[in-house]
Symmetry: C2
Subunit: 138 residues, 2 copies
Amino acid sequence: MLARMPDSAAPGLTIGQVAERTGLSVHALRFYEREGILAHPVRREAGGRRVYAERDVEWLSVCVVLRASGMPLPDIRAYTDLVRQGPGNEEQRLVLMRRHQERVQEQMARLSESYDLISYKVRVYEDRVEQAGEAHAC
Amino acid sequence: MLARMPDSAAPGLTIGQVAERTGLSVHALRFYEREGILAHPVRREAGGRRVYAERDVEWLSVCVVLRASGMPLPDIRAYTDLVRQGPGNEEQRLVLMRRHQERVQEQMARLSESYDLISYKVRVYEDRVEQAGEAHAC
DNA sequence: AGTTGACCTAGAGCCGCCTCTAGGGGCTAG
DNA sequence: CTAGCCCCTAGAGGCGGCTCTAGGTCAACT
């Protein structure tokens, strides 16, 4: 049991383990790889199975956060490309990240405006429901 | 010019005008109507053209906010149905709105966590870019 | 020897939400 | 009269982002 667990030094994770740790599905992981969303090529076991390293999990976790905040896959891919190219393009990475940061800010602003309206509606309905209850009581 | 403008009392808006005011496309407006996202049926001019009232614009503006905060169309439709049925189902509307309110809260929380990471990344790259600049200067 | 289970590839399919097309009507200005 | 514009319906198409299928490999338990 606990098969294919190279047991020390460089752990070497299966796609299933990575899925569990990142919250992405196995399918999504393969899909992301095809889309070029991996800073380093995945090693392969004899037999063709993917062998992930800890840093892949870290990278993918960053990607999950970027996705969760609405960064489109093409942008994540562009960022990944920059990272894969190594040091020297920090300005470009900065541009990408700043742009995303602004979008997230806007998103948060819009969301909180929406939240205000929704809260208002909730209050209105709470009042109405309460008054209906009192009417019954009389 | 300024054709088909019944000029007083009940304005009567064309689909194009509603599109402009709500920010929705003409296509989207027809689509929403088919989907039952209109509290009151739209009147039709002789010739079959839709004639919207001010309250439709108001309702659609609410829907735009709900959409912007991620409420799925089926939920908006359910809410619309409740509103169309008239008073008496405020508890149900409240349930719907509260559920959405919670989702929006979660969304905001996740977004602000993401924002922290993104801001961190931005800071890191700012530093690196700055240091690279200094290195050049030396 | 057979069964299980995690993995593989290539590609099709799906969901949500529009967006666009085809084909047509009708008003108004020039 | 015709050009331009906005409108109509029904239904196809597109996009983003996965998700699933078919058909197969391989290693491990029973």
